[in-house]
Symmetry: C2
Subunit: 220 residues, 2 copies
């Protein structure tokens, strides 16, 4: 049983892939080099894929800088975490998960995989529209109707196993499954150590705190 | 009013973009360099974009050869047209329209365009699952739910204006709108002149015949 696992280098996709492995899937990892300012993410994804014994790992060049408009790809400042903020933050990359899932679907179809795993998470999410459950359900329909496998009655499943978990639950799950947290990188900024202050760091640290586990990576 | 128009270099997307222009949209063209064996398609798309006075034309490198498994990207033979064949042919590229629409969506969101036009056609289609109306409708849901604009109540419309037309109707519409057919290229093979024998050529020639118009391009 094969599954394509989207790996970003962060902890959510790492735990997601560990869940796929636990479910008995062979992991075919895919990571996007989308012009992200933080190049460390790709290195981290490679280490995570190796630690999880992925059968294959494709690094796809998908240059989203062509379109710009995100703090993750452009020279726009990455903001510090703000509690209760409810607008979509500047770190949103237009249609990013849609593009990633589409490549995942193409990959799954060519290797005859049964599923695509994505580490989208709606609970502690930063306000990204493409991390919600309804979005994943809508994408499933596209996978059902837009592929040869779907047309032949063997649709590729889009699985987002941590979508409803809190960050604390994600950390606990990862510890239980021996997920290689030490290789993950979540910080939006590009220092040698994680900043501890951006949305992504703050949510990660909160998760480890909730789980009562020490985060193995270093912070500034 | 801005619209992103997917341009393949072929006649369907050319007529689709001409319809967008007729509807009053400014055209922002996007073409994919996806490792297609036939490099002429990209040149043709550039000529079509210029003839339709596109405001901008993005050529996106999206290397689908990484995944392989299609006669359009790999060394698999392009078959001759067969009447009544009802399996999905080897020219199917896994999840191609899904990947293309996803980039179209990202582009639309960054330039604040109201629509993405795609020249999908279900009538004389070669059996591709991602050219059907239900597929486009499913994709609209993804656009509604997966983008910032959608979340803010101004969803980007996915418009497939020729989806129900026969090839003859597409040619007639194109003639009416002065679509630059002379710059288009439909052949799946890579000769100097179109082969006249592959699915794509046969359907195109049938369309011109039905419309009672001479195809301005040269055939072998």
């Amino acid at each position: 049983m094969k599954a394509v696992c989207l790996l970003s280098g962060g902890m959510d996709s790492c735990v997601t892939a560990a869940i796929a492995r636990e479910m008995g899937y062979e992991i075919y990892a895919i990571t996007f080099d989308y012009g992200q300012r933080n190049r460390k993410e790709i290195e981290s994804a490679m280490k995570v894929a190796a630690a999880l014994q992925a059968k294959e790992h494709k690094i796809i060049k998908a240059d989203l800088r062509t379109f710009g408009k995100s703090a993750l790809t452009d020279n726009i400042e990455v903001p510090e975490f703000e509690n209760g903020r409810n607008e979509i933050p500047p770190t949103y990359v237009p249609a990013r998960n849609t593009i990633f899932l589409s490549y995942g679907l193409a990959y799954a179809e060519t290797i005859d995989a049964d599923a695509v795993f994505i580490g989208a998470n709606a609970v502690d999410y930063s306000g990204y529209p493409d991390c919600r459950k309804e979005y994943i359900e809508a994408y499933q329909k596209v996978a059902d109707l837009g592929t040869k496998r779907g047309a032949e009655g063997k649709p590729i499943k889009i699985i987002a196993p941590i979508i409803d978990m809190s960050k604390g639950e994600i950390v606990k799950k990862g510890v239980e499954l021996n997920a290689p947290f030490e290789h993950t990188w979540s910080c939006y900024r590009s220092g040698d150590k994680a900043c501890g202050k951006c949305d992504s760091c703050v949510l990660r640290l909160k998760g480890f705190e909730e789980a009562g586990v020490k985060d193995p990576i270093e912070y500034e």
